[in-house]
């Protein structure tokens, strides 16, 4: 437990260092700090990977069953997604967006119950891995899209980032679709019903509809800062689906 906490706190420290370096590079106009911030995010990802690995080794199951574990997994996806999109799109705002997202999510994780528990019978399935990983990858992409939208709005560069925000949203939408579908197939295997209108299912579908509408609105001509604002609004639904449903509504997903 101590080793896991040291590694996860180290990841948080590097994320915070990255965010401070990005902020300093922007405020003091020192582009050299941007590279250092990128390295800090890389170090944060490595530390988080080691921390999750230690959690897996200690508990004997992938760290995907509690909200704390799944949030760390969500965080794990933030880094490679930002590295990939930074490389593919050359948009500079993705890296500071990743640093903001990581710091906020590490902060949220610190508020959650860290007690590791054995897997309950319903979760002892290989579907857990594919369902939770795809859902967390989707939430990570949406979080990055919302943070990047916020960053571009703050810097009044939303027009230039429009295509990049679309790519992130498409990635999140694809993973969310996969998460919902694998969840349905798993539910059929475990409970005998592929759709039960459980609050988490319902809110996931609502989130999916919101992003589907956002993507269609963009196709219809909604661009720039309006699209960026829409992504921030849609992300509020992600937050409610992920946190709100667990804390406020009871259902079959109450454990994580």
């Amino acid at each position: 437990m101590a080793a896991q906490m040291i590694l996860i706190n180290t990841a948080f420290f590097f994320s915070l260092a990255g965010l401070l370096a990005f902020s300093a590079a922007y405020v003091f106009e020192k582009p050299g700090l941007t590279a250092a911030a990128g390295w800090a995010l890389g170090a944060a990802w490595l530390a988080l990977t080691a921390g999750l690995g230690a959690m897996w080794a200690a508990s004997g199951h992938p760290p995907l069953s509690t909200q704390y574990e799944s949030l760390l997994t969500l965080l794990w996806f933030v880094f490679p997604l930002s590295f990939y999109f930074r490389r593919r799109t050359a948009r500079p705002e993705i890296a500071p967006a990743a640093a903001i997202t990581a710091c906020l999510l590490f902060g949220a994780a610190a508020l959650l119950d860290r007690t590791a528990r054995p897997l309950m019978p319903a979760l002892r399935s290989n579907w857990l891995i594919v369902h939770v990983l795809s859902s967390m990858a989707a939430y990570a992409a949406f979080a990055l899209a919302a943070a990047a939208a916020g960053w571009t709005l703050a810097k009044q560069r939303a027009e230039a980032s429009d295509d990049f925000l679309l790519r992130l949203t498409k990635t999140g939408f694809a993973f969310l679709s996969l998460g919902i579908i694998t969840g349905s197939v798993w539910a059929e295997t475990a409970w005998g019903s592929w759709w039960s209108w459980d609050p988490k299912e319902t809110w996931s579908l609502l989130t999916w509809l919101a992003y589907a509408a956002a993507l269609h609105l963009r196709k219809k001509g909604l661009r720039g800062h309006k699209f960026a604002i829409l992504l921030a609004v849609c992300f509020a639904l992600v937050l409610f689906t992920y946190f709100g449903v667990n804390f406020l509504l009871s259902g079959m997903h109450s454990y994580g």
Partner: protein, 306 residues
Amino acid sequence: MVRAISSLYLFFALCALMGTAFVYQTLFNKGLPIYGSPWFAVLGLALAANILACSLRRARAASAHFLLLHAGLIVIIAGAFAAPFCRFEAQLPLRAGEASDMAQAGQTSYRLPFSVKLENFSLEYYSRPFGRLILEENGSRREFDAKEGLTLSTAAGDSIKVLRLTHDFGLTSRGEVVEKSPYWLNPAVQVEITAGVKKKKLWFFSNFPGMHDGDFPFGLSYSLEGAEIRDFASSVTITGAGGSMTRAQIAVNRPLRFGGYTLYQTSYDPADAAYSLLTVTRDSGLWLVYAGFIIFLAGVCLWLLK
């Protein structure tokens, strides 16, 4: 007409209406769920019609991913609407040693074309659970692993001796204490409390902390630790119409398919180790939903590769 039905504005309006319905249902509705109401079905049908009309209107010029994504959605919605006509679902309550072919859905009973006999129901724990005695007095709290023969002393000089531990406390008609099952369903500890020359034997229950009949200057309770359940399963023998017998085990995430039906391990009774609840389903429309999933995911892959 097709133009109006295929309108993107209609799609946005339907998304907004559905979203509002979901928010109402999950946050405010205290009555019957809206999902079975006719207006919600109309909303679903309208969404399917909108997607279908949009796909048909653009079919000639549309890309493969557009067609697959929209076709997948239509097939999934069609599968959802087919469910009430193609799907059978009922509960099959079973008791150890007894066979039943009567499944229940609400107030209605259905006779299955096979009977299911529960040979055994088993609970599997991650590790062997153990009980802890918690002694609270003068604002302090002390915990002890409960073992037969353990003797505790209180600050006032009283003594508490553990006489007997049970996993699943039960009483016979003659008032004798027995283990009802090998599982930790109703753990209890019997202690003898000695205060001066007075001695009193009492049972303390983990599930019912206030049930003991004693009044002491200290607090004593019994709790169960390490009782996390790893799995629960029913060993069954299924006898088909021709007299054929099949033995199998049904567990959570490991349903049994037999004669076109699927049997799921749904629940058990923590107060009755001989009881198991199975769910029996038969869904001839499920393939439609899965086909929709595959078509949609194929569309997603092509869409991302674009």
